[in-house]
Amino acid sequence: MTQPFIELIDLHKSFSGNNVLDGVNLTIEKGLVTCVIGKSGTGKSVLLKHIIGLMQADSGQVCVDGMPTNQMDNTQRHRFYRQISYMFQDNALFDFLTVWENIALPLTEKKKVPMDQIRQRVKEKMQMLEISNHENKYPAQLSGGIRKRVALARALITEPVAVLFDEPTSGLDPVRRNSVHAMISTYQKEFGFTAVIVSHGIPQIFAISQRVAMLDQGKIIYFGKSDGIFQTDNERVNAFISGKEA
């Protein structure tokens, strides 16, 4: 087993009395792609938002690199945000900024990296993701696939240790879905980041993941290697991956 990077310990979260996370325990290992699957509305995105700090748990802990996120001081929090990036389901690109400005935003707003280095980094990422010719376009002028790449470039510009993907293939056709999966896999190998992917793209997502976690009724009911999920005797997991009601 590789070194754990993100640990969720007995995480509880409820909305209006509805327990969405009911004691979630999960370990995300460094450098691996972990995929979180589960029915719609089971709290997969909620789980991801707890990791990045967009939501606070009712009880339990999220530890990143051994440090509980709710006990971080300002300096540690800034470091935490440099280490983890988040790619939103609908990309969350700023429609009033160009592609270049969107990608550079995490650096230009901070004014900590010199401008020539920012230009260099943006250029590199754009070349790697093959979006150099869209530099001056606005998000509304781009296709869905290119927008995903722009969002990925923005997520990678700070050179994070981990990237969280919230349903990166939702709303895409099977061809585009596969190309987004391939893109994540390729760049994960190239940049070596830890990836956590919430996805409904079954079984394709298993091909690019080393670990799979299944969330059901607020708990992780399966966690293991992606090829092992087909051998499990858990009825609910089997029913879900074969598209049947448990």
Partner: protein, 264 residues
């Protein structure tokens, strides 16, 4: 039945107190983040352009007709007392002390304030504000601070424009149409205005600028809390925009009374 009404009243009170707390924190964060280095000069200038320069046409149009109506109404009221020569004073004082700051602020709230609320509201529902947080960018600094600074600069300038244009509107109806002597009109305008009147008008403009920018940005920023059924949908943006403009206009009129009470 009575218990239900009391419960609803209690919930409304708690919600109101929460809103006051949220808006206060939002306002103070906005003020503080405006002065946190580095100062966002280019973004502030963009807002001055959007709130100020782009509102000039609507301000000039509103002001000229307001001034013309004041000229007409003032003339027919004053002529009964044989005091039509005082029209310049009446138009100038009304505009500089009251109508200039209030009408200019309401027009800016309708034009630029609604746009602020809608733009930030869309940023909220499309998760752009969440994205800022994940990038460790202060969302209040990014969305509100430049608009606040832009409003503080633009509102007094637009009010001055409104006043001058309105006085010219009064000149058009009073002098050009109704035949009052132009030198008497201008002499009365100049003699009647005191520095305290102009300062009072600018204080009002400044306060209205703070109110409009805070209320509109706040409503957009918390668009997802606009109503019980709003959530993160198009409805929430429309509700936020409506609330932003209506609340701004009400607060402008209420604060106008309070400031006038202390100034007179």
């Amino acid at each position: 039945m009575l218990k239900l009404y009391i419960e609803k009243l209690g919930l409304a009170c708690i919600d109101g107190i929460r809103s006051i707390g949220r808006i206060s924190i939002f306002f103070f964060q906005g003020i503080c983040q405006t002065f946190v280095p580095f100062i966002q000069t280019s973004k502030i200038m963009e807002q001055v352009w959007f709130i100020g320069a782009k509102s000039m046409f609507v301000i000039v149009l509103t002001a000229i007709f307001t001034g013309m109506v004041l000229g007409l109404q003032g003339y027919y009221t004053l002529v009964d007392f044989g005091s039509e020569a005082a029209l310049g004073s009446a138009v100038a004082m009304t505009l500089i002390r009251e109508l200039g700051p209030v009408l200019a602020a309401i027009m800016i709230a309708a034009r630029a304030g609604s746009a602020m609320a809608a733009e930030i509201g869309v940023m909220r529902i499309s998760e752009q504000i969440d994205a800022l947080e994940t990038m460790d960018i202060h969302p209040v600094r990014f969305t509100f601070s430049p608009r606040l600074a832009g409003s503080i600069i633009s509102f007094p300038l637009l009010t001055a424009l409104f006043d001058v244009t309105g006085i010219f509107g009064g000149f058009l109806s009073g002098v050009m149409m109704l035949g009052i002597n132009r030198y008497i009109y201008m002499d009365r305008v100049i003699r009647s205005i005191e520095l305290a009147d102009i300062a009072g008008g600018f204080i009002k403009a400044l306060v209205f600028g703070l109110i409009v920018s805070t209320m509109c940005c706040y409503k957009g920023f918390f668009a997802h809390l606009s109503g019980p059924q709003a959530g993160k949908g198009a409805k929430s943006v429309s509700l936020a925009t409506t609330h932003a403009v209506v609340n701004s206009c009400i607060l402008i009129l209420v604060s106008d009374y309070i400031i006038t009470f202390f100034l007179v």
